[in-house]
Each structure stands twice: as C-alpha cells, then as structure tokens.
C-alpha cells in the first residue's frame, strides 16, 4: 500500500484540527485549543482503486503573528486549505496562505469551506475571489456534523491512486 503525506493548512481557528479529529476518531468538540507546531495522525483510506495510508499533518494555524512554514509541505502528496465561512477574514488570509503554499509545493490543493452547519457570513463575491484559484476541488464541510469530511479524504485518496496507475 502506498503512503502519502497530506497536510491541512489555513488560518487559525477555522477547524483544521477538528476536521482531522472527525475523520480519524469520529469525534467533535466545541472546545478550542490552538495548535502549536505540527500534530501527525495516521489513517488508512480504502477506495475502489485500493488502499492508501495517509499521514495527516495538522499544521498550526497561520495568522499575522505566526507565519506559514512552507517546510512542512515538503514531500506532501496533497494539501487542504481550510477556511471558516463564519469568519470573513479567514478568506483573505487563506488567499495569502495559498500563494505561499503553491510557491513551495506543486502537490494537489484542495479547498475546504468549513463550518457549513453555521450560517455563512461571507459574501458571494468574496468567496468567488478564493474559489477561482486553482483548487483541484472545492468542498463545503462541517467538522461538527461530519458532512463531506470522509468524502474529502476519500476523493484525495482516489485521485492519488488514479494518478499513479
């Protein structure tokens, strides 16, 4: 089975840790503990094309105080940019992060618009400025309800397997 490094990046408090936790352990918590450095989890994903072993890197959220460390993307097969639809500023921050990331890595990029269980605070126009960037796929998720969480990871796995064969 192939092993793939998968990174989650994005502004602070958008739900990166929560998405991984939902995917790996099936748990959601309202409590917010900001991540420091990296946390790595492992999960096997089975698709119609076969299995993939994901090593999922949960990278600390980027804000104006803590810059993005592109080194963490080294060797990644794919990465997911996560934004929070209840936090308009997260969209602008994500655009900057996206630009830094594509400069450092040419892996596939996915966009997760998270917290879809809450009402969106983002205008169509603002969202458009983000979604028009080169994402392999844009998907609306909720770490709380679990909506589209497994789908996102399965889709990445399938795409990686298809690419190899």
């Amino acid at each position: 089975m192939n092993t793939h490094k998968l990174c989650l990046i994005g502004p602070s408090a958008v739900g990166k840790t929560s998405l991984i936790r939902q995917f790996v352990e099936g748990i959601f918590s309202e409590k917010y503990l900001t991540s420091i450095g990296v946390k790595i989890d492992k999960k096997q994903v089975n698709t119609e094309l076969g299995g993939v072993l994901f090593l999922i890197w949960d990278i600390e959220g980027t804000d104006q105080f803590c810059g993005f460390n592109p080194r963490y993307l080294n060797g990644a097969s794919a990465y997911i940019v996560v934004v929070d639809q209840t936090q308009p500023s997260s969209i602008d921050d994500a655009i900057i992060i996206y630009q830094q990331a594509i400069a450092a890595s040419n892996a596939d990029v996915y966009l997760a618009i998270n917290k879809n269980d809450l009402t969106s605070q983002v205008s169509e126009q603002q969202l458009e400025s983000l979604t028009s960037l080169k994402f392999k796929r844009v998907i609306s998720t909720s770490a709380k309800t679990g909506e589209n969480v497994a789908n996102l990871f399965t889709e990445i796995a399938t795409s990686l397997l298809a690419k190899l064969s």
Binding site: G37, K39, I40, K42, L53
Partner: protein, 588 residues
C-alpha cells in the same frame, strides 16, 4: 398649542430679538457653560446610553483601535520593552508544550511498544524491580540496535524498517513522520539551514539520526550506544543514498523499490553482549513456576478434590531457595518438580510445616544455587561461623554487596574475603571497615596473650569426625581441618613473643563396636591421619603429637566417639628452666 403655529412677522421679530436669528443667544449661553454641564453628567450619560442600545461601544471601538494602533506606532520601543518579558515566557511555554506533547507520544511509541515480543524480558525486569532498559543492559547487552528506520526525507514517509529479535515498534510509520516534523520545527525555530537533530534520548532509548538530502536513517538503540555507532550509521546512509538515489528522488508514496534496502538496514542491527553474563537459573525458574501455575489452572477442573490439594500446594510461597517448576497429579500422587538450594529448608520440613503430607508427594529435586538474599545471607553467616574467627566480625549484606566490620588478622581477612567472594550472589566484598592486623605486628603484649588464648580455646573445642570403621576424612572435615591448621599456625607465630612453648596432642578415639584391638589401631590411624593432614597444611610437625586412645566404652557417646580431639600443652618459657607447666587444654 395651536397659536404657536401661527407665524406672525412680529413674533418672528421677538423670537429673533430674544434668541437671536439662529438661536445663537441660547446656544452661546449654553456653550459658555458646556464644559461644566457635560462634565457633570458625562459618566452617567455614557452608562445610560450603553445600557439602552450598546451603540456607544460600536461607535467607540474603531476609534479606540485607531488610537491604539497610532500609539503603538509612535511608541514601539516602550511597548516592546513592557511586553517583552510576557512574550518571552509565552513563547517558551508554547514551544515546550509542543515539544512535550510530541516527545511524550514519541516516547510512548518507542518505549512501550518496542518489545511486544520481548514480553518475557519485561516480566523479568519487572520481577527484578528495575526499568526494562536497565535490565537489558544488565542481563544481556551493553547496547543493542533495536530498530532501524529508513525515512524519505522530504515527506517523512517510512520507506523500510527492520527490527531485532524481540523488538517491534508499534508504529514506525507514525514515528518517522513525527521525527521529520520535529526536524522541520527545529530547523524553522532555530533558523538552521539543515537538519540539526542527531540524537533524541527517551527514557529507555537513544535515537541516532542521520540525514542526507533525500533520506534519513534512524537507529533506535537501547543501552549505551558507543560513539562510533553514529559514524557507522552515517556511512550506511551514504551507501543507501547513493545506491537508491533515483528511487528516492522519484518517490511517489510507493515503497516497493525499497525492498532491496532491507539487507543494508539489517546490517545496522548490531549489538554488544555483556561479557560473561550467563543466565542465572532463578529467572527461568520463576517463569517456569508461573507457567506451572497456569498449567495447573488449565487442568484443574478435572478433579475438584485433587485440585484442592494441588491448590493448597501451589498457593504456598516456597521458602527462599526453593522454586517449583511443576506440580501435577500423576497417578495417585502429586508429582512435584522443583529446584532447591542445598542451603534452603528441606522440602519435607517445608511441606509438613504447611500441613501437606510429604508421603503423597513424588519429589524430583534439582540442586541449584539460589541468589535470593536470605539464602546468600545464611551462607555468609555459616561461613563466618565456620571460620571461627577470633575477634568477632559483623557484616551487612545488601543487594550483592557485602561489607565487613570488626577486628581481624590480615591473614584471616584474606581467607575470609576470598571465601565469601566464592559464594554465588556475593558480588562485592567490602573490607574497608575492617581493622586489619598482622600477627607479628601486634605489639601489645596483653592483646597478643588474649589472641593466643582465644586460639587455644578454639582448638580445644575443635574435633574431627570419622565414618564407622574408617580413617578417611570427609570433605567437610577437610575444611574444618584447614581452620584448625590455621589456628595452630597462628599459635606458633604468637608463641615466641609471649615466651610460650606449646604442643598439640591429637587424640584419636573409636567407638566400642567391633574388636577391641582393631579399635585401638583404628583410633591411632585416625590421629595419625589428622596429623599428616595438618603437616600438609603447613603446621610444623614438631608441634604435633598423635595418640590412639582406643575405645570409649560409654554407651551414650556411641556416635560421638568416632573422632579425633585436640589438646594443647602450654609451657611458659623463661630464661631459666621452666618452673611451671600450665595446661590450657580442655580435659578430654
């Protein structure tokens, strides 16, 4: 109020006369007092308005943000100096939180999972009450490479790993990724150009890490890794890196091309065995007894009453120096297989004392040397008593270390220490607390006399036993004879300075069985034999006089009469011929 609506030019004139064209008379009047009026009510007004619709904070917030930003812009230096102490602590805390949680998990992965197969060792370490790593070092290895991981440097993905026997890391893939992440974090935090991690120490293991541009080789080592191990890991990585360069560069998550790396990694699984560490039987036995209990538990329900008897037996804690290997029903009796130190309580005594009929036991006893403290302690005590040291020696025994205290002659101390050292389980004999004296260095006359007397006393109670109708000595008796010879030699050394001359009479006896004339001859033979043995052991033969006493007719001394006893004749010497003869010997 209707008349107010009537706008007449006169009224307008009056209005403007009174209030001014634009009410300026009033506003001017209020303005001149504004400061004091507003200052009287400002706090209350703010409070009331904020309670009413919270519009105030909405209005003020952007103003405040602006103001703060301006203030920060203008006073950066003073702000930094007041924040610096707080931020420093905060950063340190964040970094340490990260590292701790990271290392904790790593520790867990490395330590608690490495030896799933080595469970046996773990149990033994637990029994010994020492950490596993220490146990391993102690029992088997100075160091051992437990696990070797080859990691794809950019991604942190595990390419290949091999483990030594009994070692298995639960999650080498996760460990690899974490190691790489730590490395990334460290490089970023310390602005390093390249990897700066080369070792990580956890409680039980050392991770030796070597990085090349596309690969990292990690060796998890237990024990004390030698300094050249790092170098050999580096060399190995260079070889691998050169041989598999294309595969490393083209790596896309598929590990198949790296199967051929295995022999290279395997060659890193080196270890150094601790010299001459033979496995001591205790541990095997302990394990065997645990297995026996399990075994017994399995077959138990065949017969309830039998089970009860067996239970009673296995529930007993064997005395020190006895280890049950197996206890099972065989026919009509319990077949008990055990190991026993000759110094331990006899099995019969032990079982009888616990109400288990010894007759119903088929005993298979294998002798072994127990290292249990109680047994070793008993051996030490017996040995010290057996040597019949003149001034008393006390001792302390603690986990293999024996320390002696007291007054002792140098010659005696050497024999004592070397004999004590030969007891299995005594690792070290500490004689630092012993006051040593050489026999001919004792200048105090009184002390010398006291020593002389105590050796005489020792000799007086000494005796050597023989078997029925035999003049041969048993090994125990030979040992005893050694001590007797030593005493006579000391007496001989002390005598000249004390102006004493002495002689030892060796009296042989026999029991009253058999023919009387034969008994006479036998008793003489016994005495002669003892004499020649003593001479062999270094005693001057002129000092020794052997006599055969023949039968001791008393019935009650039957058993005790096949022996040789010692008496000593002591004469004080003076310049003039001896005046008095003192018999120090105990009567026969």
């Amino acid at each position: 109020m209707d008349d107010k609506k009537i706008e007449a030019p006169d009224i307008t004139n009056v209005h403007s006369l009174l209030f001014g064209d634009n009410n300026e008379h009033i506003t001017d009047a209020v303005r001149s007092e504004a400061r004091s009026i507003v200052s009287d009510v400002i706090s209350e007004a703010i409070h009331d308005r904020e309670r009413k619709d919270q519009s105030l904070s909405q209005t003020i917030a952007p103003l405040m943000e602006d103001a703060i930003a301006k203030s920060i812009e203008n006073n950066k230096a003073s702000l930094i100096s007041s924040l610096y102490p707080v931020v420093g602590g905060l950063v340190r805390k964040s970094v340490s939180v990260f590292f701790n949680s990271f290392l904790e998990k790593l520790n867990y992965l490395v330590e608690y999972s490495l030896t799933i197969k080595g469970l046996k060792w773990r149990i033994e370490a637990w029994r010994e009450g020492i950490p596993f790593a220490q146990y391993m070092i102690k029992r088997s290895f100075v160091y051992r490479v437990e696990h070797v991981l080859l990691i794809h440097r950019p991604s942190g993905n595990l390419l290949m790993d091999v483990a030594s026997e009994h070692s298995e890391c639960a999650d080498p893939a996760l460990m690899s990724a974490m190691l790489t992440a730590i490395d990334d974090f460290v490089i970023d935090s310390f602005n390093a150009k390249d990897s700066i991690l080369d070792t990580i120490k956890t409680q039980d293991l050392t991770l030796i890490i070597d990085s090349a541009p596309n690969a990292v080789l990690v060796a998890a080592v237990s024990g004390l890794p030698p300094s050249d191990l790092q170098q050999s890991i580096t060399q190995r990585l260079e070889q691998i890196h050169a041989m598999f360069l294309n595969e490393l560069v083209d790596y896309q998550g598929d590990n198949t091309p790296f199967h051929n790396v295995e022999p290279h990694l395997r060659s890193c699984l080196v270890s150094e065995a601790t010299p001459s560490q033979q496995k001591k039987p205790v541990y095997g036995t302990l394990l065997a007894s645990a297995l026996a209990v399990l075994l017994i538990a399995t077959f138990g329900y065949q017969s309830y009453s039998r089970q009860q008897q067996l239970d009673a037996l296995t529930a007993l804690t064997p005395p020190a120096g006895i280890h049950i290997e197996q206890a099972v029903w065989q026919g009509d009796s319990i077949a008990l297989t055990l190991w026993r130190d000759p110094f331990s309580t006899s099995v019969e005594e032990w079982l009888t004392a616990n109400g288990i009929p010894f007759e119903e036991i088929q005993l298979t006893e294998t002798p072994y040397l127990s290292l249990s403290t109680e047994i070793v302690d008993a051996k030490i005590e017996t040995l010290i008593a057996e040597l019949m040291l003149t001034p008393k020696v006390s001792y302390q025994f603690d986990s293999g270390n024996l320390s002696l205290e007291g007054n002792l002659l140098a010659e005696e101390a050497n024999t004592l220490a070397s004999r004590l050292r030969s007891i299995p389980g005594v690792n070290q004999v500490d004689t630092n607390l012993l006051q040593l004296q050489a026999v001919n260095q004792i200048d105090d006359h009184q002390q010398r006399q006291w020593l002389f007397d105590s050796y005489l006393a020792k000799l007086a109670v000494a005796n050597v036993d023989f078997a029925v109708e035999s003049a041969e000595l048993s090994p125990t008796m030979k040992g005893k004879l050694k001590n007797i010879a030593q005493s006579i030699i000391y007496l001989d050394k002390l005598a000249p300075d004390l102006n004493i001359s002495f002689a030892v009479i060796i009296a042989g006896y026999s029991d009253s069985q058999g023919v009387s004339t034969q008994n006479q001859a036998l008793s003489a033979a016994r005495a002669n034999h003892v004499k020649s043995q003593l001479v062999e052991l270094g005693v001057r033969s002129e000092l020794l006089h052997s006599v055969g006493i023949g039968e001791v007719p008393l019935a009650q001394v039957q058993d005790g009469s096949r022996k040789v006893l010692f008496s000593t004749m002591v004469m004080a010497q003076t310049a003039t011929p001896p005046k008095a003869a003192v018999t120090k010997a105990k009567p026969l």
